[in-house]
């Protein structure tokens, strides 16, 4: 018999690895192509000046890669879930804005060639929902205590002056 908490653990694990995998894949797609392609996609949103578009196009795929790998590895859960949620919230807001304004542009999510559509909004919205759930859980769970080592013990023991 599987307990509900075990099921929840499995679901959260799959969610973490799934969203992390999506981030790693998105980063890999962008990093294997010339950065200017991603810059063209970002520029289509008309939100940033050219210099900022250049900075974002050159750095964002590396941020996505790092956040995705951390999420998959399950390390620094609070940092990784907050980063991923913040990025997804930003992407989602930009896409909703462009779609609401009727701008027929590429979403730029996984390289060029994918126009913003109800499907891309649903996909990114679902990812955002999943990452927000992971973030809430990461903050609700207490941090793991430091492992008991001789060094830690020595540092925490009472030393008379």
């Amino acid at each position: 018999m599987t307990s509900p908490s075990k099921i929840l653990k499995i679901v959260l694990f799959l969610l973490r690895v799934g969203i992390g995998g999506v981030f790693v894949y998105a980063a890999w797609i962008k990093l294997r192509e010339p950065w200017m392609l991603f810059a063209i996609s970002i520029d289509a949103y008309h939100l940033l000046p050219e210099w900022a578009v250049t900075v974002v196009a050159r750095t964002l795929p590396w941020v996505e890669l790092a956040a995705g790998l951390l999420l998959i590895a399950g390390r620094w859960k609070r940092v990784s879930t907050v980063s991923v949620s913040a990025l997804l919230a930003l992407f989602f807001a930009m896409m909703v804005r462009a779609y609401a304004r009727g701008e027929a542009i590429d979403c730029g999510c996984f390289g060029p060639g994918e126009a913003i559509s109800p499907w891309t909004l649903l996909r990114d919205g679902s990812l955002l929902g999943g990452s927000l759930l992971l973030t809430v859980i990461a903050f609700r769970r207490p941090r793991k205590p430091e492992p008991l080592t001789a060094e830690n013990l020595a540092e925490s023991s009472y030393r008379p002056a």
Partner: protein
Amino acid sequence: MRLSAILLLLLAFTLAAPSRVDTAKTFGNPAAPITLELFSDYQCPACRAFHMQILPPLMREFVFPGRAYLVYKEFPLNQHSHAKEAATYAVAAARVGKYEQVGDALFQNQNTWEASGKIFDSIASALTPAEQKKVQALVKDPSVISEVDQDVQEGMLERVNETPTMIIIRGQKKYPIAGPPNYTFLRSLLNDLAK
């Protein structure tokens, strides 16, 4: 000896020939390192913006110097009531060697013929009286209409779903760009790919 002379003459002719291929709907050097397939709709405002703002520097810096080979493809969207007819006129004009001129006229007068539906009136000035007659006959030619349909089919195979879409082809790799791109980034990309 005579064969060598003929070969040399041929080589000299090839080298001296202008890089711009003046046939139908292609421009530039077919042997260029990159090919640009441009799927466009004459009734689409974004295509007009691409034609007016992006195309002139693109032609000047990449197509005419032989660094890129430009191939025009018709992609009239269903929501534009006169787009297919306009594309048919453009293809018909290509048959009399006036594709570029008629394309320019279609984009320049887009608002006029979009409102009136009288496409021919907007392109007539780009053609001689003899060409006008030929073009008016050609727009009813099934092979011209079929050429437009073939371009649309090609676009659908390439998963084109908006216009303008430019597919940059470098060897086996294809980079689709939808919408009028920022020319600074496009130039940088093409410079990188055309190396």
